[in-house]
């Protein structure tokens, strides 16, 4: 849909999983959900988060695919692996910095969120963002997001040395320009290798 963008805001998620149930209903992968959903730490928190594919400008999944099976549509949507090409090697599953692609064993194929191209190409919003009761997943015009939300949309992500720009936006606290995830920040380097 022209002029609409996809926004993910886990802080709005209530864990209802309507997105998962609705994703199963989609025409292109009926009965299989492409939503990535998790409770972050259920024993200690109610916090939950639902994600779709972020649809990178230069998708790592496609770069590492030895069979050249992962294509990007004109609309910037990164597709599931092409069935005739996919060798189910899981390179993409391991390489994606967001952990999105799934190997579906019964189809021997990598499948992932295609942002409901069957719907968006017909002027409908993606199924998950349409039904999401809390609009943690939202498919709306950028001016609408700017007008209604306090949080700021961000689509530059830095994973260590790799910077990724995505089609899908993440809502971040106002003032944050990019989302930095650096494993080094969490590492303890006080002991040498082999110790």
């Amino acid at each position: 849909m022209f002029g609409y963008e996809f926004y993910v805001d886990p802080s709005r998620c209530i864990g209802c999983q309507a997105c998962i149930k609705a994703c199963e209903e989609c025409e292109t992968h009926r009965g299989v959900s492409m939503i990535n959903f998790d409770y972050l730490d259920r024993p200690n928190s109610i916090a939950s988060a639902a994600f779709v594919c972020f649809h990178c400008d230069d998708p790592t999944c496609a770069e590492v695919c030895p069979a050249d099976a992962i294509k990007i549509g004109e609309d910037g949507v990164v597709q599931s692996a092409l069935k005739p090409r996919c060798i189910a090697c899981s390179n993409c599953v391991l390489a994606c910095p967001f952990g999105i692609p799934k190997l579906v064993p019964e189809y021997e194929q990598m499948m992932k969120c295609d942002m409901c191209y069957d719907r968006t190409s017909a002027g409908k919003r993606p199924m998950c963002a349409t039904v999401c009761p809390s609009q943690a997943l939202a498919y709306v015009r950028p001016e609408e997001i700017a007008r209604t939300r306090r949080e700021k949309p961000v689509n530059d992500f830095r994973f260590g040395q790799q910077t990724v720009r995505t089609k899908v936006f993440m809502m971040a606290p106002a003032g944050l320009e990019e989302i930095v995830i650096d494993v080094v920040d969490y590492m303890w380097e006080g002991v040498s290798h082999g110790a």
Partner: protein, 738 residues
């Protein structure tokens, strides 16, 4: 004796619940075919009544499509809404009437089943009197059917005992709002929530029980509103609460009176509003004088600063909305609790203008409409009191009977079950109600049902309750008859018929009219369609509080719903009640009501030191008759678990997933533990949607609020221990645990 004819396993094997996971014809086959029709209607699975389009091919509902133009939910749906289409074409669906035999249930023709039902009801009434037969209705029925049930009980059977499962839902709020405002409806449309500067949710698990309301609260937060959540559990919306009040179960009244104490102590009340629009303020002010912060904090378990802050935020708004649901209402002082919240709202002048008000969140599908037109034991159509001679005369005239032939008020739902248990009521006709699962003290309910001399059930699946039936009349799903419902906002909606009842199942309204005809009352039930019932209902409601006279199916379609009261076809309807603070009483005043503390009917004590409380999960609806048959929902939360705080679990040596036995003064229940820090350490929680050995209501008690007659589901006393062994029901046929 209405005992189940054969054992549970045999009945379950034949009638389910079997979880249906794939659409009719499978994911890849028949259901891929395009829909022949998209039917704009509403979800059947809660009082939000979200707009949805059902995909129909032939006589099958094969899927859904969001209905983005419908203003309340704009296409949004919770998982129940997404999967609701799977209840159609279900393998457990009753396709013929059933008659109980010694070896189970046999299929019967309609003539035989209807004749037997009427003959037995007549025999019992001839022998024991008219009131020896009771009728149970349900708040998931369209309003036409709810109206028909009230008329059927009073005119066709001539019994005064008709009540419904909304008795377990909206009655505490209803009584309180009538006392304060003379109207039983949310005073606000939901758009007011999004306009508020402060949203106060008490006893309302919005994220799981009314998921779409979340978006209204988040939109309020988007423009800077503060969210206050009071609940013994840290529910999903609490994640964004600016203030969380973890109150002890059953102490809501103390908290609310304490908040009003702070408001008055700090001079934050709205003196002008109180003077212009209310009565009874001084007595209420006097009643909260002793509710000082320290004692309130001790009794509720909420820090004094938090109580103080909540009171100040709510009073200072400037625009504040208070939302409440069953947490506040499912108590033996449910009415007092709601009144205390209304007192706080009135004292701070937070009603009758945009972004302000207090509102009940209705739980059942037609929880609002189902209670307005005559299936409550004390109410006639138009939300009229059955005690009011003028109301009786009006309704008797519309029905074509003499006012003196209209029975007086009967028993409420739990009182009917008690009277069955005591042998006073001998016969029961029930529709859309599964008391085996939903009434408190489940074993007592089963004993009562077993004693019935005749039990007739109208239903589309064989519920746990219907297992006791002598005759089961195969009825219809919501999508199989046209009619209206009323949503939590007070918006009357059009339920469009998507398909016909399958095979030999009948529309419920046809079944009721046929029963009436066989009872010799055909002239009072000449209806050929639900539209004709609605037209009579409009007339019957005319001039009442819940006035539907100006509402037609066509208007609802044009205007995307019409808010009652709507007394004439050129009346615009009434989204916000009490505009400017004017109540529905003749004098226009809102009434402060003094509230008084009472102990729970099942108090915590040394041998039962913990609170036991119940509620819903997002994937299930009420007694689960429908949602335990939908695989995608069953898989989300397959069996009830007991939520326990790690501090309590540690004390009893309980680990995640261990079997735990909960003991109340009535029974034991053994379930697996879910150890979470999102519940008070003195409280355990179990969702109530399951039956028999998984039923939370084994443990609950039958204490009722004296005015609303709602059972006290939210407060029981219990103790827990790690179970010695895996319960029998959880062992698979090969002997291993499930």
């Amino acid at each position: 004796m209405a005992k189940p004819p054969v054992d549970l396993q045999q009945l379950t094997a034949e009638f389910g619940p079997h979880p249906q996971r794939v659409p009719p014809g499978g994911w890849q086959e028949e259901s891929r075919n395009p829909a022949e029709r998209l039917v704009k209607t509403h979800c059947c699975f809660c009082g939000q009544q979200c707009g949805i389009q059902l995909k129909v091919r032939g006589n099958s509902v094969i899927g859904f499509e969001p209905w983005e133009e419908f203003p309340f939910n704009e296409g949004k749906l919770c998982p129940k809404g997404v999967k609701r289409y799977l209840q159609s074409n279900h393998p457990d669906r009753l396709l013929d009437p059933l008659i109980r035999t010694s070896s189970g249930f046999r299929k019967a023709g309609w003539e035989e089943a209807l004749d037997l039902t009427v003959r037995r009801l007549q025999e019992i009434q001839a022998k024991y009197g008219k009131d020896s037969v009771a009728v149970f209705g349900g708040a998931s029925l369209i309003t036409e059917k709810a109206y028909l049930m009230g008329k059927f009980a009073r005119v066709a059977l001539g019994t005064r005992h008709i009540d419904y499962n909304g008795r377990l839902c909206m009655v505490s709020a209803g009584v309180a709002y009538k006392l304060a405002f003379n109207v039983d409806r949310s005073p606000i449309p939901w758009s007011d929530i999004a306009q508020a500067d402060v949203v106060f949710c008490i006893g309302a698990n919005v994220g799981e029980c009314a998921p779409i309301t979340t978006d209204y609260i988040w939109r309020a937060r988007d423009h800077g509103a503060r969210l206050i959540v009071a609940d013994p559990r840290f529910t999903p919306i609490s994640r964004n609460a600016d203030l969380y009040l973890p109150l002890r179960p059953g102490t809501d009244l103390v908290l609310l009176m304490g908040m009003l104490h702070v408001v008055l102590r700090d001079g934050l009340e709205d003196r002008d509003f109180i003077a212009a629009h209310t009565t009874g303020f001084d007595d209420v002010a006097e009643s909260v004088k002793s509710y000082d912060l320290r004692s309130v904090a001790e009794r509720t378990g909420v820090p004094p600063e938090a109580i103080e802050r909540a009171a100040r935020w709510f009073a200072q708004g400037p625009r504040s909305v208070a939302l409440h649901a069953r947490g506040l209402e499912h108590q033996s002082k449910g009415v007092e609790n709601v009144l205390a919240l209304i007192n706080l709202t009135l004292a701070t002048g937070k009603i009758g203008r945009e972004g302000c008000g207090c509102a009940m969140i209705t739980g059942q599908g037609n929880g609002q409409g189902g209670r307005e037109h005559g299936q409550k034991c004390d109410q006639l159509p138009g939300a009229r009191s059955i005690h009011d001679p003028v109301a009786r005369e009006h309704v008797a005239r519309v029905w074509g009977i003499q006012p003196e032939d209209l029975p007086q008020a009967g028993y409420s739902a739990q009182e009917i079950m008690n009277a069955i248990h005591d042998g006073e009521i001998k016969g029961l006709l029930s529709i859309c109600f599964n008391p085996s699962v939903s009434l408190p003290q489940a074993e007592y309910t089963k004993e009562a049902l077993n004693q019935l001399e005749f039990f007739g059930v109208i239903d589309f699946f064989l519920s746990e309750t219907a297992r006791h039936a002598d005759v089961v009349l195969a009825g219809s799903l919501q999508e199989e008859e046209e009619g209206v419902t009323c949503s939590t906002e007070g918006r009357v909606l059009h339920i469009r018929k998507a398909v016909d009842p399958p095979a030999n199942a009948w529309g419920d309204s046809r079944i009721i009219c046929e029963l009436a005809r066989r009872l010799g009352k055909e002239r009072y039930f000449p209806f050929q369609s639900t539209r004709e019932i609605f037209d009579e209902l409009r007339e019957a409601s005319r001039g009442g509080i819940a006035d539907y006279y100006g509402i037609t199916y066509e208007r609802i379609d044009r205007e995307m719903g019409v808010f009652w009261p709507c007394p004439s076809e050129d009346h615009p309807g009434t989204p916000r009640l009490m505009e400017g603070g004017v109540s529905m009483f003749p004098d226009g005043k809102c009434r402060f009501q003094v509230t008084e503390w009472r102990e729970s009917g099942d108090p915590v004590a040394e041998d039962f030191p913990l609170y036991f409380t119940t509620g819903r999960v997002v994937s299930q609806y009420l007694s689960g008759t429908q949602t335990r048959r939908i695989g995608g929902l069953v898989d989300m939360y397959p069996e009830p678990r007991v939520e326990i705080h790690p501090r309590l679990a540690e004390r009893h040596g309980i680990g995640e997933g261990d079997w735990v036995t909960i003991t109340s003064r009535r029974a034991d229940l053994t379930l697996r533990a879910m150890i979470v820090k999102t519940i008070r350490p003195d409280t355990v929680f179990v969702p109530y949607h399951w039956a028999d050995e998984q039923s939370a209501n084994k443990l609950t008690h039958r204490t009722l609020d004296p005015r609303s007659k709602i059972p006290e589901f939210k407060v029981s006393a219990c103790r827990i221990r790690k179970a010695e062994q895996v319960p029998e029901w959880a062992i698979t046929p090969d002997g291993g645990p499930r």
